[in-house]
Symmetry: C2
Subunit: 109 residues, 2 copies
C-alpha cells in the first residue's frame, strides 16, 4: 500500500476512513477508557473491574468487555490460568498508548 | 499536581476523568477527524472543506466547525487574512498527532 505521509505521519491519500472512524467511536464510548485503565492496573476479574469503576452497571460492563474482547483489545483467560480474567492483548497494549496520548492532550490547557 | 506514571506514562491516580471522556467523545464524533484532515490539507474555506468530505451536510459541517472553534482546535481568520478561513490552533496541531496515532492503530491488523 502506497502511503504518502507528511512530516507528522499524516496519510495524504484521503480522509480518515471507516477503520479510523470505527476506532474513534470505540474510544469515545463511555467507560472504554476506564475499563482498559482498570485492567492495566491489575483488575482482571469482572467484580474487580466493576468495583474499580464507580457508576458502571453490570450490564454495561459486560457489554463493554464483550466488545473489547471481540475487537481483540482484551482477552479472557479462564480459571485454569494463574491470573484468570481479562487481560490486554498486544493490540490492546498499543491502543493504551494512544489513550495515554489523548489523555495528556485533554489535560493540556 | 502529583502524578504517578508508569513506564508508558499512564497516570496512576485514578481512572480517566471527565476531561479525557470529553476529548474521547469529541474524537469519536462523526466527521471530526475528516474536518481536521481537510484543514490540514489546505482546505480552509467552508465550501472547500465541505467539498473535501463526501456526504457531510452544510448544517453538520457548520456544527462541527463551531464546536472545534469553541474548543480551541480550529480558529477562524477573516477575509482580511492572506489565507482566510479555518486553521488549526496549536492545540489543534497537538490533537492532530493523537489522531494520527489512533489512525495508525486502527490500520494495524
Amino acid at each position: 500500500m502506497d502511503k504518502a505521509r507528511d512530516q507528522d505521519g499524516w496519510i495524504g491519500k484521503g480522509p480518515f476512513d471507516a477503520a479510523f472512524q470505527d476506532a474513534a467511536e470505540l474510544v469515545g464510548k463511555r467507560w472504554v477508557g476506564a475499563v482498559i485503565w482498570a485492567v492495566v492496573h491489575g483488575k482482571h476479574r469482572f467484580a474487580e473491574i466493576r468495583n474499580a469503576i464507580p457508576g458502571i452497571s453490570d450490564r454495561l460492563l459486560a457489554e463493554r468487555l464483550k466488545e473489547l474482547v471481540d475487537r481483540d483489545i482484551l482477552c479472557h483467560r479462564d480459571t485454569g490460568d494463574p491470573v484468570p480474567g481479562y487481560h490486554l492483548t498486544p493490540r490492546g497494549a498499543a491502543l493504551r498508548r494512544v489513550l495515554i496520548a489523548l489523555h495528556d492532550w485533554a489535560k493540556q490547557r
